[in-house]
């Protein structure tokens, strides 16, 4: 809703952006300008609360993988998998190989689909069409018109086949519910495996094609490269992500590794130890909490080695990984670090916020290649080892996966009958909440100066600061084309509107 600007005897002018685009529900930005027209401060508010952590109490823990996907209908697989892994830990079961293969395959296919929708529908329009291009064309339709219908068909096919794969695993194309404590609800037949391999082979080609799109339409443009490298989109924060035993990327399982802004390891821990490393802060002006690293501490909304603010994004996952787990992704990883840091080894950290789009595309390649390895595994179609019956008394467990938008934690404590007594969730985007606030403020400060004409293009470039994170607040919608409405009003001290910019229809 439009903000009822409260009149205060303040020397500051307020610019309200309400609602902000591509958040589930409504995000809101208030920018305060000082007497010189410079940005004095900036608040990004999340006005939503549903309380999953509380209403899961009293529910049977095996129902969590069926309830939790409704945190987000866009990335339900991430919540289902984190939840199922927490259930496995609650019952102290280790999965049979086939169960593990099915889950990780399903998860990697989901990853490709999810990253593809963000790249084409949300990220690419700013670059393919231009950051300050006509907003009526700066959307997925514009991208398809510019790149050609055959590109659009490829994107639609990737989505469609991704949902077909979801239905093979879990019956439902959206909100699959097939992960259960101890494995998955149904095996994969040889015939289903063949179709899955066909889908995955297409996804590998599609991911490679997407790298080409990025190269041609973003990296070949020196202005964009300059914007990525030197624009007001840069924070030297800690990075967090899952790695395997060789410190390579893995989205489904591993240990959580955190590195400092220079790339030195701060800690590496098993999921069950997450609460020793991450704490959450509450601010009175937002329903969403602010996680930070306990070893460093909360020092406010600032970056640097002394500040516990961290990011958990595709870029962070590349920062924490010594290498990608698959060959084509590794090539892309080396090109990425070489271009952005001059060091293809990956030992010099990337901190440019907008480069997250590039990292996301590299992860698409990685997920598709990993899925191809898994779908060809001879044990995938074993008729019995898709689940195991838990026998231990349920107690407590933590499950962690890398959601597309960040490290996702589900933590349950149950009674001896497996009824949930406590639940704690740290959702992908929540990790990045402080960093997103900082990125918005930094973009606003860099783009709005004394005498700046606050055009629609300027607004869009402020939006680009959070869009890079692919945010999913409340964990919710993020992945669809186009824009939500936006109106920016500049008010004087009495709350009277003195200037207004309305974003044109898209």
């Amino acid at each position: 809703m439009t903000t009822a600007a409260t009149t205060t005897a303040s020397p500051y002018r307020r610019i309200s952006i309400d609602p902000i685009t591509r958040l589930e529900g409504h995000g809101k930005i208030d920018i305060f300008l000082d007497a010189d027209g410079e940005v004095a401060d900036c608040y990004f508010q999340v006005p939503e609360l549903r309380g999953f952590e509380k209403f899961c109490e009293g529910r049977p823990v095996e129902e969590m993988p069926r309830i939790m996907p409704r945190i987000c209908g866009v990335c339900p697989e991430a919540h289902m998998m984190a939840s199922a892994k927490a259930c496995d830990a609650v019952y102290k079961v280790s999965l049979p190989l086939t169960a593990r293969l099915i889950r990780e395959l399903q998860y990697n296919i989901f990853y490709v689909t999810d990253h593809a929708t963000h790249f084409y529908a949300l990220g690419a329009p700013d670059f393919v069409m231009g950051p300050a291009s006509n907003p009526a064309e700066r959307n997925l339709i514009g991208v398809i018109r510019k790149l050609g219908v055959e590109v659009g068909q490829k994107v639609i096919q990737a989505r469609k086949w991704g949902h077909e794969a979801a239905a093979i695993f879990g019956g439902r194309p959206v909100n699959p519910e097939n992960a259960i404590p101890g494995g998955v609800s149904k095996p994969i037949t040889a015939q289903e495996r063949e179709r899955l391999e066909e889908i995955v082979r297409y996804m590998v080609e599609f991911a490679k094609f997407t790298v080409g799109v990025l190269r041609e339409h973003v990296l070949a443009n020196s202005q964009y490269v300059d914007l990525i490298l030197h624009g007001p989109y840069h924070h030297r924060t800690y990075s967090m992500g899952l790695v395997d035993e060789k410190n390579r990327t893995n989205f489904y399982d591993g240990k959580i590794r955190v590195v400092d802004p220079d790339g030195h390891e701060l800690c590496k821990y098993a999921p069950r130890d997450y609460a020793k490393h991450v704490a959450e802060r509450v601010e009175p002006w937002s329903y969403l909490k602010f996680p930070y690293l306990t070893e460093v501490g909360w020092k406010g909304f600032v970056d640097g080695k002394h500040s516990g603010v961290y990011r958990a994004t595709p870029q962070s996952r590349l920062n924490v990984a010594d290498a990608m787990s698959t060959p084509l992704a590794q090539e892309a990883y080396e090109e990425y670090f070489e271009t952005l840091t001059g060091d293809r080894s990956g030992h010099t950290m990337v901190h440019q916020t907008l480069a997250m789009h590039w990292a996301r595309v590299i992860e698409m390649v990685n997920a598709a290649e990993r899925a191809l390895e898994l779908v060809r595994h001879p044990e995938l179609t074993h008729p019995e080892n898709y689940r195991v019956i838990p026998h231990d008394t349920p107690t407590e467990g933590v499950g962690i996966v890398e959601a597309p938008r960040g490290t996702l934690v589900h933590h349950y404590v149950t009674d001896e009958n497996g009824i949930v007594r406590k639940a704690n969730l740290i959702v992908g985007t929540t990790n990045n909440h402080a960093a997103i606030c900082m990125s918005i403020k930094q973009a606003a400060q860099g783009l709005i100066r004394k005498g700046t004409d606050v055009t629609e293009g300027v607004l869009n470039m402020i939006e680009m600061a959070f869009r890079a994170y692919d945010p999913c607040f409340g964990c919710a919608t993020h992945s669809l084309p186009g824009k939500m409405p936006m109106v920016v009003r500049v008010r004087d001290c009495d709350g009277t509107v003195i200037a207004e910019t309305v974003r044109a229809q898209g």
Binding site: T8, R14, P284, K483
Partner: protein
Amino acid sequence: MTASVDTSDRQPGKLRIGMYWASSCGGCDISLLEIGEHLLELIEVADVVLWPCVADFKYRTVADYPDGYIDVCLFNGAIRSSEQEEIARLLRVKSRTLAAYGACAMDGGIPALANLKSPGAIYDAVYHSNPTLQNPNKTEPQEHWAAPQGDLTLPRFYPQVLRLADIVDVDYRIPGCPPVGTQVWKVLQAVVAGEVPAHNDAARAGCDNRSVCDECHREKRKTRIKEFKRPHLAVPEPNWCLLEQGFVCLGAATRSGCGALCTKAELACRGCYGSAGLADDQGTAMLSAIGSVIDATTDDRAHEIVEQIADPTGTFYRFSLASSALKAHR
């Protein structure tokens, strides 16, 4: 309910369609995209005039529309905040036909499980007692907070989750979590063809008239249950009715139309299409379904078997607590 087709007051030209989200997960918006290539057909005959995640329309623009300007508005998500109520009221005025789209708008959905807890308990868990919190000053989100430079506001968090129909009159209800794409497309085709009246007393659309059991592939053997099993502790026999095997399955109490997708994946139905009967209370319907399959000759034995169900309230009303007789905490 009106059976006849009334299109007399439809405005000339293309239909105007709106889609909105309130307290929801985004799955309903995804489900509308699930109509796939039909979306292009739809855009030929209908203009989208509100769809926050796809098109760029401001609330201000919506507020400036003449009353009844939107021909059909699909509203997803439940009502949990003052902002959501405000938008619901605005869209009722601006829409000729307002449909509750998906389980949350229709019956509260999974977020309505929060009605089993008090708002204070939710705040306590989320902001005070969870293991990762560092909140020594007991800070909580405030509707008004004075930043050094000016006042910041948040919408009010309501004491309970409400349905769209608890706030405004609803013309249709489209069930599902989320609604299945093929059903959604059938509804839209009917709308485009002018085959449905604008107002229809919250009639259900986008579903069939039977129960999920009627479209489930699994065989009923008319056997009776001696015990209930939890789904992770036993492997079901394929192709045999899950309820008859002792797994709580809401198929009998749930409206058909989804295609019984979950039971194909060896999972019991959890009732996302809402009550199968005319009454909204899905739990009582489920209780009577269970009463008919348990193998007990005495009340005590019947009681003993039913006691084995781990969480009857959270299971029988998984998606429909806001429509139940229980409604809310206290």
